[in-house]
Amino acid sequence: MEGLAMGNYGAYVWSCFGLTLVVVLFSDWRARLRQRRVYRDIEVRIKALEERQ
């Protein structure tokens, strides 16, 4: 517990590490989401064109 308290600076230290983790995970999630959306949109458009032909 003493190690986690960080000499009374625990709230400052852990919030920085926690926020960093959240921002990095969010960036990763956003990148994946956009990749899936762009791919799906193109797939739908191309398949619709193929069916029309």
């Binding site: 190690g3 960080m6 000499g7 009374n8 600076y9 625990g10 400052y12 230290v13 919030s15 920085c16 590490f17 926020l19 960093t20 921002v23 990095v24 969010f26 960036s27 990763d28 956003r30 990148a31 994946r32 956009r34 990749q35 762009v38 791919y39 949109d41 193109i42 797939e43 458009r45 191309i46 398949k47 193929e50």
Partner: protein, 249 residues
Amino acid sequence: MWKLFHQLASPPHFYRLAAVIAPWLAVPGILLIAYGVYAGLFLAPMDYQQGDAFRIIYVHVPSAYLSMMAYMIMAISGGIGLIWRIKLSHAVAAASAPLGAAFTFLALVTGSIWGRPMWGTWWEWGDPRLTSELILLFLYFGYMALRGAIDDTAKADKASAVLALVGVVNVVIVHFSVEWWSSLHQGATLMRKDGPAMDPGMLYPLLAMILGFTFLFGSLLLRRVRTEVLFRERRTRWVREMILSPEGS
């Protein structure tokens, strides 16, 4: 050499190559960060002045460094796109902006959290390092807003590249602000003529974090550039063939 360069800049070639490279950057990145977090939080000795609050540097310094590096990637890629009209370089610039903004935000917030116990304030408007870093965040927002406001991709590429190049002045100011003006922010600790002014027990986890963040940034950037390339090339034959092939992306 030029042949290799042109081959790399070819969107279909880059799209496939980036898919292979991205995981190979992510894995060492995560391993280095795991070591850096553990060693930085639990093994590095406590600072004699700042106590355990100094451990915030293990996320603050890599974020601040990436905030500037992402901007330079954005500006240089935009410049290459303007001069040599390489489509891929505009895609790199566009993909770099949101990541740069995320790391600038992290650098500002973690710096502010560190400032509260050390300086007794969350923010100091008169400080050149803090203010120029905030301007950097606004430059990222401006860049993304400008891109979003112009429907024509080619025009958006040109306008945003000019903005990115002009904004390089601010990156230089961010970097040298602690040397040029009196600042609350401490001076350079790593990039000094007489070597880093840190105990090796503190230094190695920091170097691991900087390297790990760089690898992770590289992996995230490659994935974002792939998406940007796919979007820009959506009407081309190679994308159509890739989508219709049984293997997909």
